[in-house]
């Protein structure tokens, strides 16, 4: 068994990078014919040739048959996310610019002062924000997680949370404590089962993980998010 493991490691080492393997920047130049000093090594190195093959694959970007629609969908998502990120910046800048005009700033201050004055005069001491909707349920901007939370006795079978008003889908993320995402899934339900390979990680006693849920509307826009909750299988 030890020999077999050793044998595998030898073959792995044979195709892994060595100190002689140049960086991807140099490989790009070798491909372009302008780094002859490294050309001989690259010609005899499976690792370097594989790196170049991957680079060519990335650069060509030709979708396989049937992938075209998915590629288009993904690029549309990327474009949409760019626009979402920029919109708050532009609106903040616009408002900031407005208040650079002195009389506008003074007028705004006066309006705010008058509003506060009127509400204090009329108010009964209770906050004027109506948080009750329809049937009286209290709603906040947060998705509420049900579990797993904290120490749990065994591998989590399902992740569950409360329904969030207006949500069409929910995105679930399971992360390391440093925020690195191990797994992400989307569902229209209020529970999800972990993929087996991640459930195995989560089942390790004493290993802390955290998770959160984002509520999405029909356009995949985030409309609410949960807090990030930590959990771990209790150690033996």
């Amino acid at each position: 068994m030890a020999d077999n493991a050793n044998n595998t490691k030898i073959w792995q080492e044979a195709v892994s990078a060595t100190p002689d393997c140049p960086s991807i920047e140099v490989l790009e130049k070798v491909e372009a014919g302008s780094a002859d000093a490294n050309a001989q090594h690259v010609a005899g190195c499976a690792h370097c040739q594989t790196e170049l093959a991957m680079l060519r694959s990335f650069e060509e970007a030709l979708p396989l048959e049937g992938e075209g629609a998915s590629v288009a969908w993904i690029t549309a998502q990327l474009q949409r996310n760019q626009q979402k990120q920029a919109a708050p910046v532009r609106s903040v800048l616009a408002w900031r610019n407005l208040f650079r005009i002195p009389y506008m700033a003074a007028a705004a201050a006066l309006i705010i002062a008058m509003t506060l004055g009127i509400s204090l005069y009329n108010g009964s001491g209770k906050p004027g924000i109506n948080t009750h909707i329809g049937n009286g349920e209290f709603r906040s901007g947060s998705v509420r997680l049900s579990g797993p939370i904290g120490n749990i006795s065994g591998m989590p079978q399902q992740f569950q949370w409360e329904a969030f008003a207006g949500a069409v889908n929910y995105k679930v993320e399971v992360m390391e404590v440093d925020g690195h995402v191990d797994w992400s899934g989307t569902t229209a339900q209020t529970s999800i089962t972990l993929a087996p390979e991640v459930a195995t990680i989560a089942a390790k006693p004493g290993k802390p993980l955290q998770w959160k849920v984002t509520a999405l509307d029909a356009t995949d826009k985030s409309i609410g998010e949960s807090s990030t909750e930590r959990f771990q299988v209790a150690g033996k």
Partner: protein, 260 residues
Amino acid sequence: MAAQTTMAPSIGSLRAAPCPDRSLEKAVGAMSGHHPGEMALPPARGNAPSPEARGAGGVGIIPAMSWEELSDEALIARYRDEADKQTAEQYVNELFRRHHVKVARWCLSFAPDRESAADLAQEICAKAYQKLSYFKGESKFSTWLFSIARNHCLNSVRSRANAPVMDTDEEVMEALPDLVSDNPQKAVERKQLAGLARQLINDTLEDTEKQVFTLHYAEEVPLDVITRMLKLENASGAKAFLVSAKRKLDKAVKRWHAQQ
């Protein structure tokens, strides 16, 4: 994989940019000797015109130039030099827009579905944007972006714990050719054996077999991902190349043992 918050700003205002007057651009290009692709953009608000914009003889005729005609590196340079944040964002927006298809297609190779691929792509673009200050121009921008995409996707695949040992296909699970046992001297260092293995791989295998073998054993990439990444169109995809590689190496190792 989750989508992280992207830092890349909107391209909405980019699309609203006015179209350039091409006839004027050609005339100025002929006058100054500059290639149209090297013309300066109209100066941003609050910025002085760049030297190219002033043209030969200091004439201030600046043809508006389309974003598409600037190289990636030129866009990055302008992004870094631009004082106005909104204009700067337009440059970097265009830069990333150009490579969305590459990143999307690359991520689709690694992800089980388009939603996961989109998450991966989003994370890659966000990382690249955050690290843009580290791009030194030692390679093309697309090569630099590739290195980020490569590492991110390979890490995501490894974190799914889909190592070769978990393959259930018998042909794939066949042990690698044995270099260790039957080694009469036993004192041969592992490093030397790895060097021998490297030589055998290089001498025995075809290019695609080398690539599949390397990706599967060095980078722990699942065979279905390798098939999509390398766009293998044969019936069994990467599996066929891996099985073929192992058989060839097995024969090569036996020949080597026989010569010892």
